[in-house]
C-alpha cells in the first residue's frame, strides 16, 4: 500500500494521471464517468424515442380535434379536450396555490420572528409545507375524494342524475393540484425574500413605511422573478400529475359540463388531462390505442421541456439551479 501511496504522492496534485492510480481508484473513476454519461444516454434515449414516435404518429390536426369514442385508432379523434383540461386544472391549481404560498412565505420571513407564539406557529406552517411536499400525489387525490364527497361540498362537483355525489370536478382536481404546486412556489418566494438585503427594508422603514407597505412596494417587486420561477415549477408539477386527475376528474375523455352558468359549469364538470389521455390510451387503460398515447405523450413531453426552459431562463444567474429540481 505504501509503495502505491508514495508513487501517487510523488506524481500527485494536478498532474496525477489515473494510469498511476491503484486499480480500485481507477474502477471508481470509471464508474463515476459511467454513471454520469449513462444518465445522459437515458435522457437522450427517452427524448429521441418519444420524438421519433411523436413525429411518426402526431398530426397537427389532433391538437384541434375532440376525442371520439371509437374502437379504431384512426377514428378516435384528437386530444383537444385533454389539452384544455390540462390548462384548466393548472389555472385552478395555480390560482389557489399562488396567494397561499406567497402569503405564507411573506408571513414567515417578515413577521414570523416576533413573539414566541408566532415563532411556534411559523414552525407549524413550515413543517406542514414540508409534509405536503413529501405526501404522494395518490394520497392527496384520495384525500380530495373524501373531502369533495362531503354532502356540504356537493355543489362543487359532478353529480349523477339521482343526486349521488362523485366528488369529481375541475374544482376538486384543481384544489388538490394546488397542494402539489404549493411547496415549490413557497420555497421560491421564501428564498427570494431572504435574499433581499436588509438595508432595503430598513430604508423603507426609515421613510416611515409600515411592514405591509414595505412588502407590497419594495419586497414584492424585487422577488417577482422568484415567484415566476416558482409558478412555472408548480405548473410543470401539475401538468405531469396523473393520479390526481384519474381519481378526481374521472376518466371521461371529453369535457362534460354540469349546470348552465357558463364558466362555473366547466369548473363543476369532468374531463381529462393530457396525462390521463396517455394513461387511458395505453395498454394500462381501456383504449389500447398506443399511437394516440405516443402522440399525446410527445405533446406532454414538449410542454414539460418548454416549462423547463422557462425555469432555466428565469433562474439564470442564480446558483441554485440544480437544487430546484425538487
Amino acid at each position: 500500500m505504501s509503495a502505491v501511496a508514495v508513487r501517487s504522492g510523488r506524481t500527485g496534485g494536478r498532474r496525477s494521471s489515473p494510469m498511476s492510480w491503484r486499480w480500485s481508484d481507477r474502477l471508481a473513476l470509471a464508474a463515476a464517468w459511467l454513471a454520469g454519461l449513462s444518465l445522459c444516454l437515458i435522457a437522450a434515449a427517452i427524448v429521441l424515442y418519444m420524438g421519433y414516435r411523436g413525429i411518426q404518429y402526431l398530426r397537427p390536426g389532433m391538437i384541434f380535434e375532440r376525442p371520439q369514442a371509437s374502437a379504431d385508432q384512426a377514428g378516435s379523434g384528437g386530444f383537444l379536450d385533454p389539452l384544455l383540461g390540462t390548462i384548466v386544472v393548472s389555472a385552478v391549481g395555480i390560482a389557489i396555490a399562488l396567494p397561499l404560498a406567497v402569503a405564507s412565505a411573506v408571513w414567515i420571513t417578515e413577521y414570523g420572528h416576533g413573539g414566541r407564539l408566532s415563532r411556534a406557529l411559523a414552525r407549524v406552517v413550515e413543517s406542514s409545507i414540508e409534509i405536503v411536499a413529501g405526501t404522494p400525489d395518490i394520497v392527496i387525490a384520495i384525500f380530495g375524494l373524501a373531502v369533495f364527497q362531503l354532502p356540504l361540498l356537493a355543489p362543487l362537483s359532478f353529480q349523477a342524475e339521482g343526486g349521488g355525489v362523485f366528488g369529481r370536478s375541475f374544482i376538486a382536481a384543481g384544489a388538490m393540484m394546488s397542494l402539489l404546486a404549493l411547496p415549490p412556489l413557497y420555497a421560491a418566494t421564501r428564498d427570494g425574500l431572504q435574499a433581499v438585503p436588509a438595508h432595503m427594508r430598513e430604508a423603507a422603514f426609515a421613510l416611515g413605511k409600515t411592514r405591509i407597505t414595505t412588502v407590497r412596494r419594495v419586497l414584492m417587486p424585487s422577488v417577482r422573478s422568484n415567484i415566476a420561477t416558482g409558478t412555472t415549477l408548480g405548473i410543470s408539477r401539475i401538468v405531469g400529475s396523473t393520479a390526481i386527475v384519474l381519481i378526481l376528474l374521472g376518466s371521461t375523455l371529453r369535457i362534460e359540463t354540469q349546470g348552465a352558468v357558463p364558466v362555473v359549469n366547466l369548473l363543476r364538470g369532468t374531463g381529462s388531462s393530457l396525462t390521463t389521455y396517455v394513461y387511458e390510451n395505453s395498454p394500462a387503460g381501456e383504449g389500447a390505442a398506443p399511437e394516440k398515447a405516443y402522440a399525446a405523450a410527445f405533446v406532454l413531453l414538449v410542454l414539460v421541456l418548454a416549462l423547463n426552459v422557462v425555469i432555466e431562463r428565469l433562474g439564470r444567474g442564480r446558483r441554485d439551479v440544480i437544487s430546484s429540481v425538487i
Binding site: C40, W107, S127, V132, P136, I138, F143, R211, L301, E312
Partner: protein
C-alpha cells in the same frame, strides 16, 4: 366598505390576515390525516393491526369486498395486506439502494470530475429526468421495456419453472425497479450535488497535499463530510418511491403476488408485484363498496404516515449537516 378595504392596512391587521392564511396549511394537514384515518377506521376495527400481516388470500378478500352490499358484514372487512407491503418495501429498497450508488457516483462526476463544459450539459439532463411525468415513464415501460423483458430476457425454462404459480409476461419487478431508479436518482443527485458544492475546497486540497490522488481525496474527505446529506437524499427518494403509483401500476403486472426468492434469481426479478400506491389506483373504481373503500383509505393512511415519518426523519438527519455548515 370597499373604500376601507382599499386603504393600506394597518400592520397588525395585515399580520393577522397573512398568519391566518398560512395556518390554513396546518389545517389542511390535520384534515388530511383526520379524513383518511376516519375513512380507514372500519379496517382497523375489524382486523386490528393484523391487516398488516400475511396469511390471507388478498385477491379473494378484495373480490369479496367488491361483491359486498352497502351494509357489509364483519367478514367483508377481512384483510391481510402483507403482499402489498412486501411489494412496496421490495421495490423501494432495491430502487433506493441502486439509486444511492448511482447518485453518489454521478454527483462526484458532476461536481469534481467532469470538465466544466460537460457538467453544464449533465445538470440540465438531470433536471430533465426529474421532470419527465411519471405517465411517460410508464408508457415507455409498458410499450418498450415490458415487451423487451418478456420476449428476450424471460426464457422458456423460467416460464416453465413457475408454471401454475404465476405467469411471466415481462411486467414485474425488473422493469419496475429499473424505471423507479431512473425516476428517483435525479432527486438524490440534486441534494448530493448541493452538499458536495458546500464542502470547503481547502479540505480536499489538504488531502491532496498529503499525497492522496484527487479521487481518493474525494472519497476520504468530501464524501465523509456529506454523509448526512446522502442519508437525507435517500430518505427523500424513499418517500418518492413509496408514493409512485401510476408508473408502477402500468409496468408491475397488476397482480397481487409476492416475488419469491425461492424461485431463483432471474425468475424472482420477472415476477409481478403490487404496491400500496398502485393498489389504490387499481381499486379506485371499486370505491363504491364501503369495505373496499375502507381498505383503499387504509392503504392511503399507511402511505401518509410513512411520508410523515420520512419527513421528520429527513429533518433529523439533516441537523448535523446544518451544524457542520455553520462551522465551516
Amino acid at each position: 366598505m370597499l373604500e376601507r378595504l382599499k386603504r393600506p392596512w394597518p400592520d397588525h391587521r395585515a399580520e393577522r390576515a397573512l398568519g391566518a392564511v398560512s395556518l390554513l396549511l396546518g389545517v389542511v394537514i390535520v384534515a388530511m390525516i383526520a379524513f383518511v384515518a376516519v375513512r380507514s377506521w372500519p379496517i382497523f376495527q375489524h382486523n386490528g393491526l393484523r391487516w398488516l400481516g400475511g396469511g390471507g388470500d388478498f385477491e379473494a378478500e378484495i373480490a369479496r369486498m367488491n361483491a359486498a352490499t352497502a351494509h357489509p358484514t364483519a367478514a367483508d372487512y377481512q384483510l391481510r395486506a402483507w403482499p402489498l407491503l412486501y411489494g412496496t418495501l421490495l421495490s423501494t429498497a432495491i430502487a433506493v439502494a441502486l439509486g444511492i450508488a448511482i447518485a453518489v457516483l454521478a454527483s462526484v462526476f458532476i461536481v469534481e470530475l467532469a470538465p466544466r463544459r460537460l457538467s453544464r450539459v449533465v445538470i440540465p439532463v438531470v433536471r430533465l429526468l426529474a421532470s419527465v411525468p411519471s405517465v411517460i415513464y410508464g408508457l415507455i415501460g409498458i410499450l418498450v421495456l415490458v415487451p423487451f423483458v418478456g420476449n428476450h430476457l424471460v426464457s422458456e425454462g423460467d416460464r416453465r419453472s413457475v408454471l401454475g404459480v404465476v405467469q411471466l409476461t415481462g411486467a414485474g419487478l425488473a422493469p419496475t425497479v429499473a424505471i423507479l431508479t431512473v425516476m428517483i436518482t435525479p432527486i438524490m443527485i440534486a441534494l448530493v450535488c448541493e452538499a458536495l458544492e458546500a464542502v470547503p475546497p481547502s479540505w480536499k486540497e489538504g488531502a491532496v497535499a498529503l499525497g492522496l490522488n484527487p479521487l481518493r481525496a474525494v472519497r476520504a474527505v468530501t464524501l465523509k463530510a456529506i454523509r448526512p446529506a446522502i442519508v437525507a437524499a435517500a430518505v427523500l427518494a424513499t418517500a418518492r418511491a413509496l408514493g409512485e403509483a401510476v408508473m408502477i401500476q402500468m409496468v408491475s403486472g397488476g397482480k397481487t403476488f409476492a416475488p419469491n426468492l425461492d424461485h431463483g434469481v432471474p425468475v424472482f426479478l420477472f415476477e409481478p408485484l403490487r404496491t400500496l400506491a398502485s393498489a389504490i389506483l387499481d381499486f379506485r373504481e371499486g370505491i363504491g363498496s364501503p369495505s373496499l373503500k375502507a381498505a383503499v383509505y387504509s392503504f392511503s393512511l399507511l402511505l401518509l404516515l410513512s411520508a410523515f415519518v420520512l419527513s421528520v426523519g429527513g429533518y433529523l438527519v439533516k441537523l448535523p449537516l446544518r451544524r457542520h455548515q455553520a462551522r465551516a
